[in-house]
Symmetry: C2
Subunit: 411 residues, 2 copies
Amino acid sequence: MALIVQKYGGTSVANPERIKAVVSRVAKYKRDGHDVVVVVSAMSGETNKLISLAEEMMPHPDNRELDVIVSSGEQVTSGLTALGLINEGFKAKSYAGHQIKIKTDKAYSKARILKIDDEKIHDDLKNDYVVVVAGFQGVDNDGNITTLGRGGSDTTAVALAAALKADECQIYTDVDGIYTTDPRVVADARKLKSITFEEMLELASLGSKVLQTRSVECAGKFKVKLRVLSSFETDGEGTIITFEEDEKMENPVISGIAFNRDEAEVNILGVPDTPGIAYQILGPVADANIDVDMIIQNIGQDGATDFTFTVHKRDLKKTLDILNNQVKDHIKAREILSDENIAKLSIVGVGMRSHAGVASKMFRTLSEEGINISTISTSEIKISIILEEKALDAAVKSLHKAFELDKNISI
Amino acid sequence: MALIVQKYGGTSVANPERIKAVVSRVAKYKRDGHDVVVVVSAMSGETNKLISLAEEMMPHPDNRELDVIVSSGEQVTSGLTALGLINEGFKAKSYAGHQIKIKTDKAYSKARILKIDDEKIHDDLKNDYVVVVAGFQGVDNDGNITTLGRGGSDTTAVALAAALKADECQIYTDVDGIYTTDPRVVADARKLKSITFEEMLELASLGSKVLQTRSVECAGKFKVKLRVLSSFETDGEGTIITFEEDEKMENPVISGIAFNRDEAEVNILGVPDTPGIAYQILGPVADANIDVDMIIQNIGQDGATDFTFTVHKRDLKKTLDILNNQVKDHIKAREILSDENIAKLSIVGVGMRSHAGVASKMFRTLSEEGINISTISTSEIKISIILEEKALDAAVKSLHKAFELDKNISI
């Protein structure tokens, strides 16, 4: 008998019929003698509908009120899922974030979980209840409703699994696992049986869209066993996210290719190359709760350097406002540029550590395709580049082939 | 400078455009220097949509989960209204029931307010906020979400007005006041400038559908000045509900005619005429949280009597189940009958107290129309009858004319 936390995304709870399929799956686990905690997202389309309503009232909605509005979506699904379970003869109870005290900080729309009160849930599980939790939401110390940002239900599930010391956290989604790259771009993309946390972290943050980065970080930190599965298949093992590299029987040089069309590039040119300059640029951006992804600074010439970073396209205007009003004159920068027609591509793999020549193979492949690279940034298990958005598909296809990701072999 | 609680019903907040009209009205009061607390219902149609979803999951939804689901509607409207106010440059903050601790009992779907924590709201008002409260919902001592039943937002508004000691509680709806009867049935129906609490109570409970009975009871109990207005008119005084009869310049014999097609009649025949019999019949019905309206018992003959009461049509099946399974044999009743094709009609007026002959005039008028009365029940300021549903319209029209309700005169 195990304790399993299952998270179902928006397409898995899109309508009563789909929710009934979720109920059947939960029922199967219950009949097998397991305890189940279910975390649900809003019905697909619901969050966007609510955001549109909010934007009709106020073009850039106040974040406190936006959280009040959008968090209602998960509340509805949690109630509907509990009803479905009760209708099948199970004991079930739904909880919103404020009821099990998913305590967060005050960063509306991007809140971080601080603490979960697991007592109520443990009591319910002891009394044979299936506990259904509204994902994506929490409550701050003053009782204000907060949300965890897009994909936050994954984080709710992992944080609950950690707090409850669950045996496994299963993330049900509309894909059946983690692929070597997006199958819509590369037809040969292959499903991975396992992947390490480190690789998953790099892949998730780079846009694989299957799992929210924070949920993977959280799972890694609290050693939560995480599995990604399809809610549209009745069997299937999905992809398991492992702690240790040697759990993997095969260890290819790279595990996957991630890419992202959502970012915009910001270049600050002619910055005095003095200590503390990066903080002076990024501090005000971070204070505005804008997430910065890639950060590149090359060595300076003549006492000046260029500083580049990427932000989500929707944050670009706000970022430029901050840089132009609060930063530019202060740090005596020459010019601030930006480009929205870019894409980011990354190859990721723990095997990279022990294999030389991955970077040169990557750059040779792209060069043979005539694709230009504007920016490069690397970590131990990842190489990321920025390129023109229109060259992205060709780049992903050629690299997937060059690194033989379509073949299930180690190199 | 006054403190005004304004409540807007579902049609007044049906879409962002309508909510903007609400914002304009609130803005007017703020600019005039008043403090405003706004209570909102769900957008019209939303509650029914949510109930349908719940019924798709479970034909007779569990009440705890149903409350979780339907309470989301008001939460959305409260956030949207706050956004609209912020967008117009006001400080505004929304609150769900659990945030300002609208504490209720545990009667899901029919909860009663026990206590409101007014401190948070007073603090916000002091800091010049417009406070927007999600109507219809509360929270029990264990943090479970409860709802107050249909029309519960009126009760939220009145309870808030009482707790905050507001100067006036304005109920905005899609009608511009209280009428002598339903204008859809009688074209000559006339708007009343004022009405007493007693009359309003009788009219509301009898189906005028403008104000929830409990809200009027609560207003009367805590001496809240209550006004019913149209949210679709920019001026108009609406109808004020007064404490004292002599505040009214004119005092017609009857103020209005209410009617109701929603009830079903239950007859328990051949009941032993012994003490405690009414409790033995109605106790189990009340325990099932079924509201009973009219109760009629005539004097018995040969040690047996007949007992009649009415319930909402939707509760009829459940009521009959209870009577047949738990009550009938126990009290040795001969037979239990029911009729759904009935209507209730009531004439109401404080003037009735000092005028003889109201009842006889009523019965004469109906007799001249050839309308048969099956059951009669009276109070000091009201005479209620049950008649065949198909005779209802003719009955209302003839009585409206007979009591000269189309003319603004005292008799």
